[in-house]
């Protein structure tokens, strides 16, 4: 048995470390948490597995809560969110979900189809605009993404629209020229509307392993990420990379995607997330 005579054994700590590794928190975080729980056990003399898992959940929740922040909105005028991230993470779908949420509150939404590169990217966003009753601003395929973002912010200001959601093309953080393009899109938005974008949301696929940390590091540095959305947590992956991102980079996890429908978006709940890691 894992606890012998009420003491925590090395076997149990090994198993605990494996549960953490299995959830993609990464080796560094797993080993650090293992050391901390060992210390904690010396102090508190934990008697049962339930107690120990409880303390572990607490530690993970604290790491996530420590950097948490709500989604920002503009004090007046349009709020602008830019969604960024690597290819296929779930940016376009998350924009659809955010639009659904704001429309549900009676707010007006403009979607900027600033992915002018990928096949049918604008058509995909147009479907979401139709589904959510949002306006879409799009240019020709291959046109300058900054110009699309510019037009969308301009339109929002002149029409008194509440929210602008800027969809960007998937891009690997390893591609310098694409990261420069992203910086330009964000600069253009900021020049047109001071204080914007109010959120640069990094979308991370919940099935991602340790590369998610590299992604977050580079996007944070280049694009000034203000919050993270972890998608696809309705799959079997636990999204533990969120822990590494919060712990090492101090980025707040703000949203979670749990499916492909318009209402499959949740505010990040650190406690629930920590609990699910050990479920």
């Amino acid at each position: 048995s894992i606890f012998t005579g009420g003491r925590v054994t090395q076997e149990f700590l090994d198993e605990l470390e494996e549960v953490l590794i299995q959830s993609d928190v990464g080796l560094k975080a797993a080993m650090a948490l293992r050391d901390r729980i060992q210390e904690e056990n010396k102090k508190r003399n934990l008697k049962t597995p339930e107690e120990l898992f409880g303390v572990m959940e607490e530690m993970v929740a604290e790491i996530l809560e420590g950097v948490s922040e709500p989604l920002r909105t503009a004090p007046s005028g349009p709020t602008v969110y830019v969604l960024v991230g690597v290819n296929g993470a779930g940016k376009t779908t998350t924009i659809g979900k955010l639009a659904e949420r704001w429309r549900g509150q009676g707010k007006s939404v403009i979607m900027a189809a600033a992915d002018t590169f990928r096949a049918a990217a604008q058509e995909q966003l147009a479907v979401w605009a139709k589904r959510t009753g949002s306006t879409i601003i799009a240019h020709q395929s291959g046109s300058d993404p900054g110009a699309v973002a510019f037009d969308a912010v301009r339109a929002a200001i002149s029409r008194g629209v509440d929210l602008v959601l800027v969809d960007t093309a998937g891009r690997l953080h390893t591609k310098g020229n694409l990261m420069e393009e992203l910086k330009k899109i964000i600069r253009v938005i900021g020049r047109e509307l001071p204080g914007a974008p109010h959120e640069v949301i990094l979308v991370i696929d919940g099935t991602t392993g340790q590369n998610g940390l590299n992604q977050a590091r580079v996007f944070a540095e280049a694009a000034g990420v203000t919050g993270v959305c972890i998608t696809k947590l309705d799959g079997s992956s636990k999204g533990g990379i969120a822990v590494a991102i919060a712990d090492e980079l101090g980025l707040p996890i703000k949203l979670v995607g749990v499916g492909e429908s318009a209402d499959d978006l949740r505010d990040f709940d650190a406690r629930a997330f920590a609990k699910a890691l050990f479920a």
Binding site: I21, E123, A126, T174, T207, G209, N211, G212, N214, S237
Partner: protein
């Protein structure tokens, strides 16, 4: 990298004459850490290390003047073997049209891969039909239609309200009567936890009896790669894997995990967003990359 870390471990143990099993264990701990950092599944790492240990307890290693190099050599060889030894081609044997179906998690790169495969086959002079069985994702059918135009392939689909298996049957008929050499079916992204969607995957397979049933996997996938691949393999019977987005800096340990649990060959690697960014998979290059 790993070589330096292993060399460091063995340097500490030098001057003791012949190495012991305990020394090998210490060295293999470094290998274990490296593989976990590379996202190889922790169970696969455990089995892999046991395999490597067995091979490392030989006179060749224990009495070597350069044991670190010997261990790395064994690790690399075992990995290359697991990853499929040498590159395996697409199976297009039998009467045309050869049927290829692509499956995978949401966003793994299936639709783009369908276009790349089509271009690749077109370059060898084959007539290719691309069929979209994705009636769920907004503009998925249009996305594949554009890729068909770009790759010089034919395109087929039906109204989004149609059952994907019925679209598959229709696509197969068109491929047969239209004298296509290969017909590639793009399916909707799905998670293996969705029973209904996994049943649909099996029905698509039953509708067209594929020569190749391929799992399209993102190179950055983490620990769950094993469970995902196993579930798809059990449900539809995979014949091969395609690894995508290896133009990233992901170490790609998922490739090793999947190769280990399914035993199926990784046939291609997708190396970018353009249709030309597509190569035959090289196990030796992947092994070096995973080891880091």
């Amino acid at each position: 990298g790993l070589s330096a870390r292993l060399a460091g471990v063995f340097k500490k143990l030098r001057g003791k004459g012949k190495l012991s099993e305990k020394d090998i264990d210490e060295a293999l701990r470094e290998v274990r850490l490296s593989l976990l950092e590379a996202d190889v599944n922790f169970k696969v790492v455990r089995e892999f290390i046991a395999q490597v240990k067995e091979k490392s307890l030989s006179a060749e290693v224990l009495e070597s003047l350069t044991p670190a190099q010997q261990v790395i050599k064994i690790v690399h060889e075992e990995m290359v073997e697991l990853l499929g030894g040498k590159a395996k081609p697409l199976d297009l044997s039998g009467n045309p049209p050869a049927v290829v179906v692509l499956y995978g998690l949401q966003g793994s790169g299936k639709t783009t891969t369908a276009g790349k495969l089509a271009l690749n086959l077109r370059k060898s002079g084959r007539r290719v039909l691309l069929v979209s069985c994705d009636v769920y994702r907004p503009a998925a059918q249009r996305q594949l239609e554009i890729l068909a135009e770009k790759s010089g392939a034919g395109f087929f689909t039906m109204d989004p309200g149609t059952d994907p298996a019925a679209i598959a049957r229709g696509g197969y008929e068109k491929a047969r009567t239209g004298a296509y050499d290969v017909v590639i079916f793009d399916t909707a992204g799905r998670t293996q936890l969705d029973d209904e969607m996994m049943d649909e995957a099996a029905r698509i397979r039953d509708a067209v009896s594929p020569r190749e049933s391929i799992l399209v996997v993102d190179a950055m996938t983490g620990q769950e790669a094993c469970k995902v691949a196993q579930a798809f393999d059990e449900k539809v019977g995979l014949t091969g894997i395609i690894l995508t987005k290896i133009d990233s800096d992901a170490r790609g340990g998922a490739a090793l995990s999947i190769a280990k649990v399914t035993g199926k060959p990784i046939k291609f690697a997708s190396t970018g967003e353009k249709l030309e960014d597509f190569q035959v998979f090289h196990p030796d290059r992947m092994a070096s990359r995973i080891l880091g």
